[in-house]
């Protein structure tokens, strides 16, 4: 599975929305379930899935899904 597909799977699980489709310009403001607590579960799940660690401020600083995806593609261990 591509990074984008794996990210989409994590997003769908955390947001409990099987129809959620990730696009690069998607932000938290576009997804009602994407609140600050979902953000924490999301970032943690991405860290475990891809074997990476975000810097402290990155836990909340990605502007949109595209930026997050590009970061993961560059830093994923697996």
């Amino acid at each position: 599975m591509s990074v984008a597909d794996r990210l989409q799977k994590i997003f769908r699980t955390v947001m409990e929305d099987d129809d959620l489709v990730l696009t690069d310009d998607l932000t938290a403001a576009d997804v009602p379930a994407w609140d600050s607590l979902a953000q924490v579960s999301l970032m943690f799940s991405i860290e475990s899935e891809f074997g990476l660690q975000f810097e402290d401020d990155q836990l909340t600083s990605f502007d949109n899904v595209g930026e997050l995806r590009r970061f993961v593609e560059q830093h994923a261990a697996v």
Binding site: T13, V14, S36, F44
Partner: protein, 642 residues
Amino acid sequence: MNTTNARIQELLSDVAGQAVPTGGACAELARAYQRSGVPAQALRWAYTVCDVSERLVDWLAAASVVRACLPRTSGLPRQVRVAVLGSYTTVQFTALLPLAAARAGVAVEVYESGYGQYRQEILDPASGLYAFDPDVVILATHAGVLDLPVAAADPEAEVERELSRWTSLWDTIGQRCGARVVQHTFAVPPEEPLGHLAARTSGSRSAMTHALNARLGAAAGPHVALVDCERLAAAVGKRTWFDARYWLRSKQAVSLACVPLLARHTAAVVASGLGRSRKCLVLDLDNTLWGGVLGEEGLGGIQLGHGAVGEAYTAFQEYVLALKNRGVLLAVASKNDPEDAREVFRRHPDMRLTLDDIAVFSAGWDDKATQLRRIAATLGIGLDSLVFVDDNPAEREAIRQLVPEVDVLPLPRDPAGYPRALADYPLFEPAALTAEDAARTELYRARARAAQLRQDSVSLEAFLASLDMVASVVALDEPALARTAALIGKTNQFNLTGRRRSGTEVAALKDDPGHVVLCVRLRDRFADHGLVGVLIGAVEADGDGNRRMRIDTWLLSCRVIGRTLEHEMLRLLADAAAARGCRRLVGSYVPTARNALVADLYPRLGFEPDGDPGARSWTLDVEKTPPGPGYITIDKPAKDST
């Protein structure tokens, strides 16, 4: 639908080839079955996630399946109301607990206190906790809330004082609603200022925390159960248990890597208290209790007691024997010649288990489902009391399908992992070791209770008074403005209007004579909570030619909810309003998804409904501002600061 069914077949053939299926595959199967409208299978795979996975994302998926599918099946044997009172962010724990509880045979309805509100919820008789009327109260607490010094001159007194803080909370819960308490013990942080000297210093913080855990265990009566977080944290590693980044970012005192584990163990303890623990371990023989096949290799050929493989089976037998010695029934279900099988128990020198340890010995050529039914009937217990252990995945799957009441332990391929697989299995959790043990504990408890006799009976009022709280108005320099903007941006619960003023707006308003911006910090005996309250008022014309002040924004950080700070803030605002010639304060409540907590704030503070009550607008004569309850001293800023 067809693609879903094809995917199910694909996943089923994947997991059939795995000794222990992966959590990801099980979670996906659960969701796929849910989509196909087969709730029983969806639940089965969701429960398997609990057994085989520690991954948050698998658990979140399985928990969502349970939420959707449990109501559509015939339900579970027990239903209980569980309140989670946390000293840290328990949102994920609370979301996963119903999954782990359902896995243990208990349907739970959960109530979650606001972040860090455990003490206020327990002490306030009118709290949401008591309105919920719980059967079980889980105190999900962490060492960060303990008031223990780095090094104590009188460690025993420190531990006793801390102990009575917790036991008095247990007693209050017991008296007010009779709920059973499940207390998480305190994971001792690995950072120790005294270094290795701490190990030989009873006054070190880590030694006192260990002592407190032991004292909590000794003080827990029959209505209090412990979940030993210190042991769980040590098992996974303290550096895994606590991740500072997630603590700092969202006050997770238990890393999300460990919340599934914590939910599983907490649910097991809850289920055990309801008599839902399993009673009997049913053991296969070949490649389960010893290596090799007895019918082929004979008594001398099986692997037991010697070499890496033989010793692994011995270690497993020793763990099984320890379970038996503390009350778990043992049975054998084997496809073997019965006499040959018994002969191994009698004659093999390295067998740790003897025939006397086995309550029912079933060996023969009947299929295992039949043997399990016979074992349950012989012992006079239900099939739902049995746990089946077999190295053969096909036998395990047959039992899951034919006798679903029986619990099946997923055993790894390598026998070196057997003892751990059994040790990690949570549903043998004993409620008490023996009846006498329980009776003795009860006696101990009654005595302790009489001795204590409410000398430290703590009321909410006494607790608040003991905090020595001091509030002060903060001068709005740049850091304070940044903190104010952040607080406005993220506060959801105590937030009257949900209006999100930006930092730039606040900076402009503070210099505008038509506005009042009140930012308040609070400290108490234990901690300085920093800038935690924001109240913005706007001067406007009243109908009768006078002025009034409209409350534009009012919020409190959730870490200080229940501290009565809102009363003091209101008085500060009333003073500021009067100074600007306002006769009345006007406030409105704008409901959002999370702010029901403050729906009745204005009437609680003495405001009158403004026009029809449905309008959610309230008014207060500035001169009638009620005096606060008096738990907080106001530290007035120096005159020149404005």
